[in-house]
């Protein structure tokens, strides 16, 4: 196990621990987010085990992608005010689940060591849309609180940064598959993106406070 992976696992464990310590002070969406970190930690650990034992951990990425989508969508569900958007979020949950099944069973099968790039592309595209919509909502209903102390800002920034950078990650991955080159760049870039994402999630968990959330409007 490389030091980069160990650092990543430590970051995940730390973020989850911070979420648990502050659990009582967190609002519902950030409680959900805390458990999404735990789940990521679980899938990450499992992927290491499968990589070592079976030389194939593709299925963990399939499921990690799906469960992350469910948790982040639920987080957004509680952050949005508009009922239409909330209904839209639930509709995408069902759609993504159906597409996930089709992809895992027929298109990018884990048994063939296929990485779920299609689902990654789809979910990250949706994340970007959610993030932009939440930014719009934040502008419509600004709080009487400094933006750097707003958990939703940090969470949303984490999502938009991770999702947009994920497209370039996937581009690198595609290039690697075709030319068998750039493995190190992809590895560092991918992990750098994950580090950044989880650090921003950590900030969002540290800034979230039940008392501040009532200031919406």
């Amino acid at each position: 196990m490389s030091s980069i992976t160990i650092i990543y696992l430590i970051i995940l464990a730390t973020v989850f621990a911070i979420g648990m310590v502050r659990y009582r002070r967190l609002t519902i969406p950030f409680r959900i987010l805390t458990f999404s970190v735990l789940l990521t930690l679980f899938w990450q650990a499992l992927s290491i085990v499968f990589a070592v034992r079976y030389r194939n951990n593709a299925f963990t990425y399939h499921f990690e992608c799906l469960t992350a989508y469910i948790f982040y969508t639920l987080t957004y569900f509680y952050l949005f005010r508009s009922r239409t958007i909330k209904a839209g979020l639930l509709a995408t949950l069902i759609s993504v689940f159906v597409l996930f099944l089709i992809n895992i069973l027929f298109i990018q099968r884990p048994a063939d060591k296929q990485f779920p790039t299609y689902i990654y592309l789809l979910t990250n595209g949706l994340y970007v849309i959610f993030a932009l919509l939440l930014y719009k909502q934040m502008l419509q209903y600004p709080l009487n609180l400094n933006i750097v102390r707003q958990s939703s800002f940090w969470f949303n920034t984490a999502i938009i940064a991770f999702s947009t950078l994920m497209f370039i990650n996937l581009g690198f991955l595609n290039y690697y598959a075709l030319h068998n080159w750039g493995k190190d760049i992809i590895y560092y870039f991918w992990n750098g993106n994950l580090y950044l994402f989880n650090i921003l999630i950590c900030v969002s968990l540290l800034t979230d406070n039940k008392n501040n959330s009532v200031q919406y409007g």
Partner: protein
């Protein structure tokens, strides 16, 4: 893959990252601007709301004072007049010694009737509006000076003009509050009223030589009367400053532009140019 391709890949990644960072910074700037705008709008709404409340309070107070004024004029003074007449009619049947006492009582009743009528007039907004600010002030000064409680002087500078009924009424109530404070809390011996009529500025200054107070009082619960004076001044588009220190008396200055609109809700002042 050559070095050029690697450079291109790294450059594109860096560019995308820079775009994301720029977007987030732009959002933060936009958000702060929106917060500021929102705060300004909220402050404006609160100011209008406060002014509406104050306006209502002033209206209710004026109605109450008008009611009391009418009661004094139409009821109490009438009864006292009847008492005076009765005393006059019975005095003829009495001996000289008792006659003198009844006469003294009649004079006291007559004085009370006069005082009550004056008080009734100073309470009645109809009367104040009818007489105008300056004449009402002169009458009020005369009335208070008669009481010997405090020596009040009135000074006028410049060519007088009408400030409009509402403004003059509010200014008169500020003055009454000032005199009341000087008598009730400051034990003042002298009270000076100055009116300055300039082309685009009217100033009312009230000064007393009483015990004064700490400026902190303005922020305390007990300073509500003083704050009320400031609020009333704001209501008529003016600005009141209150200066005082323990042992140094008190100076209240109300300045207003005679052509400024009366209320924040857009009701124009009769003298307003717009």
């Amino acid at each position: 893959m050559g070095n050029e391709n690697i450079r291109l890949v790294v450059l594109s990644a860096a560019l995308l990252f820079a775009v994301v960072i720029t977007f987030v910074i732009y959002f933060v700037i936009l958000y702060r601007a929106r917060q500021l705008k929102n705060k300004q709008e909220q402050d404006e709404r609160e100011a209008v709301y406060r002014q509406e409340i104050l306006k209502t309070q002033v209206e209710i107070q004026e109605q109450t004072l008008e009611h009391i004024s009418k009661e004094i004029h139409d009821n109490i003074t009438q009864v006292l007049s009847f008492v005076k007449l009765s005393l006059g009619s019975i005095s003829n049947t009495l001996d000289e010694d008792k006659k003198a006492k009844v006469k003294e009582s009649r004079e006291l009743v007559a004085q009370t009737i006069t005082d009550l009528r004056d008080l009734s007039k100073s309470m009645s907004f109809e009367h104040i509006i009818q007489m105008g600010l300056l004449k009402t002030l002169e009458k009020e000064v005369e009335r208070i000076n008669k009481s010997d409680l405090v020596k009040v002087s009135l000074l006028t500078e410049g060519q007088t003009y009408s400030l409009g009924e509402q403004r003059e009424l509010v200014l008169f109530r500020i003055l009454q509050e000032g005199i009341n404070n000087a008598l009730k809390y400051a034990n003042a011996k002298h009270f000076k009223i100055s009116l300055q009529y300039q082309a685009d500025l009217f100033t009312l200054t009230l000064e007393d030589d009483g015990s004064g107070f700490s400026p902190d009082l303005l922020n305390n619960k007990s300073g509500s009367g003083l704050r009320n004076m400031k609020n009333r001044a704001v209501l008529i588009g003016g600005d009141a400053t209150i200066e005082s220190a323990p042992g140094a008396g008190c100076r209240i200055n109300v300045a207003l532009n005679p052509f400024k609109q009366l209320y924040a809700d857009g009701v124009p002042h009769p003298n307003s140019l717009s």
